[in-house]
């Protein structure tokens, strides 16, 4: 099985006529995702090279095609609005790839989406993939394999690095969720772990965290209080200096807290093994699923 995206996904690509939107719409369709529509205000009526119909609004796209999932490749100044538009049109899952959205915009968009029953993944997310079923994002599909390991990560390419190791070792993935690198996200580590916890198709969870915030510590507490799946973790940023933003808006050790060391200690204290290098995740997964 899988969570969030799968054979039931009918995808609308917001920003489909832009460079990134267009490129990734083709990639997702080629992977086998059911890309049913695109939206670019003002470009409604045309079709993409792959024959995907483009609409002026998400509401029109939903009415015509029954789209139930949206992926957003819209420039940062307009991305939060795109999230709200999708939620308002009745889209159940919005995956926001766009990076650089002001936090102020996100704190307004989140309750707006929640009130309409919409789940948001991201922003600044590489997306969600259920290997063999659907790809909603920018991840390279070919490194993924179908299987029973759930992967949740704050990162993009680090996730690919770890997924590549897992796939090569025969540990396929149920679903990989990139929750995004921003400080305030629609679906956090706890939310993702809850989803995996309830998924029959997920046997174990690999959690890829990094410095900044205390999401990992809260995840460790959730595991301590009783979590139905085995977990393996990797935390990036052991060598990050305090007070510096390490690329991701959310990756900063502030006021002495949010260090990798604290997160690693929190996981080890509840019996979760933390890998020293990405490759070592495979050894841990082998142990906990064996």
């Amino acid at each position: 099985m899988s969570i969030l995206v799968g054979t039931q996904t009918r995808l609308v690509v917001q920003g489909i006529t832009g460079r990134d939107g267009g490129f990734h719409a083709r990639q997702m369709k080629a992977y086998g995702t059911d890309v049913v529509a695109g939206v670019t205000p003002g470009k409604g009526g045309m079709k993409t090279e792959d024959g995907v119909p483009v609409f002026d609004s998400v509401a029109e796209a939903v009415a015509e095609t029954g789209a139930n999932t949206s992926v957003i490749y819209v420039p940062a100044p307009f991305a939060a609005d795109a999230v709200c538009e999708a939620a308002d049109a009745g889209i159940g899952l919005v995956v926001c790839i766009s990076e650089g959205i002001p936090v102020r915009d996100m704190v307004r968009a989140l309750p707006f989406a929640r009130e309409r029953g919409t789940r948001l993944v991201g922003p600044n997310s590489p997306g969600v993939i259920s290997p063999g079923k659907a790809k909603v994002g920018i991840m390279p599909g070919e490194i993924h394999r179908e299987g029973s390991i759930g992967v949740v990560s704050r990162s993009g390419t680090l996730t690919y690095e770890i997924v590549d190791h897992l796939s090569r070792a025969g540990f396929g993935q149920s679903t990989c969720i990139g929750i995004g690198g921003d400080p305030i996200v629609g679906t956090n580590l706890l939310d993702a772990m809850e989803l995996f916890g309830a998924d029959d198709g997920t046997e174990a969870v690999v959690l890829i965290g990094e410095i900044g915030g205390n999401d990992e510590e809260l995840a460790a507490a959730m595991i301590r209080d009783g979590y139905p799946k085995k977990v393996a973790a990797f935390i990036a940023g052991r060598t990050a200096p305090p007070g510096k933003r390490m690329g991701h808006a959310g990756a900063i050790i502030a006021g002495g807290s949010g260090t990798a060391a604290e997160k690693i200690a929190a996981f080890e204290a509840v019996g979760v093994e933390v890998a020293d290098t990405p490759a070592q995740i495979v050894d841990i997964v082998r142990r906990i699923t064996g």
């Binding site: 102020r104 990162s155 680090l158 690095e161 060598t239 990050a240 808006a249 990756a251």
Partner: protein
């Protein structure tokens, strides 16, 4: 982005906060003149982008213009946590009966803007959080509703029982909220917010950090960035659209993706060496970015080897390879360059690089160990 106290005070003043008048000066003589204009006593405050200025002796009271001139002479040129003081703020002093703390951040757990107040102001709020957390009230707010009157009452009653004082503090908290949301702040603090013996309330310090993602819509605030104390590599990186943080080691790294870049730094340490930097070239495979990245790394003469670690998703490995060859030519590269390229068009990239002096590696572990060995030779 950090901004100076004097810029934060100007923002707070714009939003109606009770900020005492002040003048920014760069010379002792001007400090004396400012003190004369404002009326003594004044406080002379070092303007550098670090905390703990008071403890370091960078904040001094002056009762006369002559004293202000002397204090300014002492503080200007002082080094505080590695930063040299080039400007001081001369501000009208207020008598202090009590110091409060008021601040706002975006809370990652509740995913809402959050206001925090404490009757224990004038000290490091993180210290208060550690030793007496019950002295801090944290209130998550709702952007749609703004700061609502019942919330203002909740916050002020935590600080004071005096109606007149509560009214002024309440107005200050409203101004703090409006300023925080209005300028796309990620942090806004008044520490301390003081009560004077005459019953008036003043914001005698101001700290605002701006959300980098919000700068595009505040051109005048973006212009306040002070790069004087910034590592020139970090300034150059920002201009080139890269993320760069200078560290102390000898293995330079160029990586696509912040998480992978951090993991690369960590792995260098894991295998016994020290990373020279963090550098994320992001998702684009633009050869100009690769060139810019190499240039920035090569400024650092302690770098003995460079490791390129690219996992191609959107990034095209062949573009990166071309960029590396171009860079090597343009910059006359003399130190070893280890290249690990995986993903989109990786085999094309390997072909392009074969027959060059660049050292190839298939896995991240191999690449890191290769770079460390090459640096030692």
């Amino acid at each position: 982005m950090k901004i100076h106290e004097y810029d934060a005070r100007a923002i707070f003043t714009r939003y109606g906060l009770p900020v005492p008048p002040s003048r920014l000066v760069t010379e002792p003589k001007a400090a004396g003149e400012a003190a004369g204009e404002l009326g003594c006593p004044v406080v002379v405050k070092a303007q550098v982008l670090v905390g703990g200025r008071g403890k370091a002796g960078g904040v001094k009271l002056a009762s006369t213009p002559e004293e202000a001139k002397e204090k300014a002479a002492k503080i200007l040129g002082m080094e505080i946590k590695g930063l040299v003081v080039e400007k001081v703020l001369v501000a009208k002093a207020v008598d202090i009966e009590h110091e409060f703390y008021a601040g706002m951040v975006f809370d990652r757990v509740s995913r809402r803007p959050m206001m925090m107040v404490s009757p224990s102001g004038g000290v490091d709020i993180e210290e208060v959080a550690r030793t007496s957390p019950e002295k801090i009230l944290k209130l998550p707010l709702n952007p749609e509703g703004g700061l609502m009157p019942f919330q203002v009452r909740r916050l002020t009653s935590f600080l004071t029982g005096d109606k007149a004082v509560a009214k002024q503090i309440g107005a200050a908290l409203q101004g703090l909220y409006d300023a925080f949301m209005g300028v796309d702040a990620s942090l806004a603090e008044i520490n301390p917010l003081v009560l004077s013996p005459d019953g008036t309330v003043w914001a005698i310090d101001a700290k605002i950090n701006i959300d980098d993602n919000g700068l595009y819509r505040h051109a005048e605030i973006a212009g306040l960035r002070d790069t004087v104390d910034e590592d020139p590599g970090e300034t150059a990186a920002r201009d080139a659209g890269l993320s760069f943080v200078k560290l102390d080691g000898s293995i330079g790294c160029i990586v696509n993706g912040a998480g992978l870049a951090m993991a690369t730094m960590d792995m260098i340490k894991h295998y016994g060496a020290e990373p020279a930097n963090f550098l994320d070239i992001g998702g684009s495979s633009n050869p100009d970015k690769v060139l810019a990245a190499m240039r920035i790394i090569l400024r650092d003469t302690s770098v003995k080897a460079i490791l390129i670690n690219i996992f191609g998703g959107i990034t095209r490995c062949d573009d990166v390879a071309l960029g590396l060859i171009e860079a090597k030519k343009k910059l006359g590269l003399e130190i070893p360059l280890v290249v690990r390229l995986t993903g989109t068009n990786a085999s094309e990239a390997r072909e392009i690089l074969s027959g060059t002096e660049l050292i190839g590696a298939d896995t991240m572990d191999e690449a890191v160990q290769s770079a460390i060995a090459a640096a030692r030779r």
